[in-house]
Symmetry: C2
Subunit: 401 residues, 2 copies
DNA sequence: TTGTACGCGTTATCAA
DNA sequence: TTGATAACGCGTACAA
């Protein structure tokens, strides 16, 4: 039988949970809590125990608050006890539990980044840029990729929410038409910065590339090189990047007095499978285009490969321009003319923006949207005219919008 | 003045912390705790309050444990209260706090993956494979990339440790020579699976590609194509992949009676900058090699680009073979001959292995090391002989080691 | 079937 | 300078 150490009572003893593997009791008579060692449980419960501040405190016979203060360099602490605690922490290989810390502070010092794909270096490069800035400020980065699937994207946002990220950088999948899973963040006052694949229905803080000007320059460049029947293999219509690149294409044609022919515009879905099919459609037309402006580089490369297999010469029979300057672009054939996006800068700019938003307060002087410049890189796939052309035509553009 | 609601005493009132933004008091006389609304604090503290099970419980006048049971589909619960709780949860937009959950269960359902770089599609592809398997089993994946920096790698492992991942998939940076930051995981009984960039000093559970056989086949292929002075531009000597590919290179030469010449072997560091320098060194030799086996595709591409700029013809004057089958490989010139690595399979295999290890128990029947097959892909950069060659030479290889 | 109360590991507040 | 203890949100053993 169990006896209260204080009032010697036996009847009034109640079990009252476990404390560090030991059974805890409560004497109802004198309201006295006490624990009794329980060797059986000790072994079972002990599996994979991480040393905590309580362990350190018990070893040294001080309180856990003293340990906490010592570990955080609080000024009000005896240098000796402090030193002893730090040594003991080293000895027991203490590692702070971020989970408990985050729970009590309700801040995780973590931001999530959600990207639609990993197949090109585009998004990885953005991530590297963002990670650099965030790491410098002591934040961690959780990377999620949705594989261009709406469902995975929703699941990923839920996971980030459950892990209580302090902020989110997001670029959506091409399937995404419903934005409720992003609105949840706004409802929770968790700042979100959208980049690259954004929607105008959603959010206010964005980092994008000046797709319009990039596309405009690309098409104008084709016109200047003597191409007259220029097609556009575009992206999903719901994405702003598709809309903007299409707008640049149309405006460039109109500026130079060319008609906009619906049969020369196809909306793809950014996959290479579809790109190949649509490219085939273009090339098999009764009157095929003499140039194609593609929504991105993988699409452009599919076009080139297919055109070559059909015996067409690039750039003589067909001019091709891509978008993004993937690492392949410089190496395929005599090079793919493309619009270079400042990937690392996008990541850095988005990271800096989310940092400002997470600090809060100064939301007013944080710009709504940052627009970065794109740059036309001229290579062999479009250089039909012999006259000298500059290696790259810098597009002037401005920040802010 | 504050008066105890129970015994009407005033002197014996003590402050006793805050409860949900309200000041809490304790009457020492009657040991009665009570809270008083504190409108001032209410506004300040209320910023960004996530609804919890307590909120649901209070709204419905039930206990938090009842709410918890309802949300987890516990059988012992009244269907009506259960329905009411679920509806209220929906209404209040309840989102469980993963942090608190993990703290209680001391399992985060999260595994970390640490990769050295994001510049090629190699590691992103592995990540995609791993993510697929883990997501299916309800685990999340935290991705960390160390940018080939030892320091960042250590910092990343610390972050993963602090976030209490249940398991780790790791591929180390080329700078890494000290493995203490990985040993911490073993000490904590957190399973680790190393993949691709592994060290034989460390750990037992690995997923690697049969680099030796891949390299052997690549060099033998060059010999069969009539190349006689074959150089090797390798990777950092501390990495097993470098050692294995070098071993394959040497053994293939020896098998066919060629000498191993130290001047034809250079250890690079996997960066393109160094690759260019060393390639230049090879090509400027008094008696330059007539073929180069490169440790990876980016290196091989640097070699090709440089050789072309020097007026050399590929594959006539110089044969080149790479490793990995990056997406560029198929498109550069007449194609780069390379050894294809099963990236997605690596990720899947590593994920399945870590799942088994995390489930625990059956550690015995989990294989120590999984060795996946590599596959030689023959393209234009090495096909000097006219005789018919198969498009790909499948290397036979076996699992387990 | 439901409620009470404790523990997870940490920080913060107040008392000593 | 140190100690006690509430609080963060959730799961759960035990009591009712």
């Amino acid at each position: 039988m169990i006896q209260c150490p204080k009032c010697r009572q036996v009847e009034t003893i109640m079990k009252a949970g476990f404390v560090r593997g030991n059974q805890r009791f409560l004497c109802k008579e004198c309201t006295y809590y006490f624990t009794l060692p329980n060797p059986d449980h000790q072994k079972k419960k002990r599996k994979r125990h991480q040393t905590t501040i309580i362990d350190i405190a018990q070893e040294l016979g001080v309180s856990n608050s003293t340990v906490s203060r010592a570990l955080h360099g609080h000024p009000d602490i005896n240098p000796n006890t402090r030193k002893a605690i730090l040594e003991k922490a080293q000895e027991l290989d203490y590692q702070p539990n971020q989970l408990a810390h985050s729970l009590v502070k309700s801040r995780t010092e973590t931001v999530g980044i959600l990207v639609p794909e990993f197949m090109t270096q585009f998004f990885p490069n953005i991530i590297v840029g963002a990670q650099k800035v965030l790491t410098q400020e002591g934040y961690h980065l959780i990377i999620m990729q949705s594989d261009e699937s709406y469902e995975t994207e929703v699941s990923n946002t839920k996971a980030l929410l459950a892990n209580r990220v302090d902020g989110l950088l997001a670029s959506m999948s091409h399937e995404t038409n419903n934005y409720d899973h992003f609105r949840v963040f706004e409802k929770r006052d968790i700042p979100v910065v959208y980049f690259n694949r954004v929607s105008d229905e959603l959010g206010s803080h964005k980092v994008v590339v000046n797709d319009y000007r990039g596309a405009f320059a690309a098409v104008e460049h084709l016109i200047e090189n003597g191409y007259r029947r220029i097609a556009h293999l575009g992206g999903p219509p719901n994405l702003l990047i598709s809309q903007e690149r299409l707008r640049g294409y149309c405006d460039a044609l109109q500026k130079h007095g060319f008609p906009i022919l619906p049969e020369l515009i196809i909306h793809g879905d950014l996959t290479v499978q579809k790109a190949r099919i649509y490219a085939g459609h273009f090339l098999d037309m009764a009157v095929p285009p003499d140039a194609i402006f593609a929504v991105n580089d993988p699409t452009a490369i599919e076009i080139i490969v297919l055109a070559r297999s059909k015996g067409l010469h690039i750039p003589e029979d067909l001019g091709v321009v891509g978008f993004s300057d993937d690492s392949i672009a410089a190496h395929i054939g005599t090079g793919l003319t493309t619009v270079k996006q400042p990937t690392t800068h996008i990541g850095e700019a988005a990271a800096r923006m989310i940092l400002r938003l997470m600090e809060g307060e100064d939301e007013l002087d944080t710009p709504e949207t940052i627009v970065l410049d794109a740059q036309l890189i001229v290579r062999g796939s479009s250089a039909r005219v012999k006259e000298q052309l500059p290696e790259s035509l810098k597009l002037s553009g401005s920040s802010g919008s």
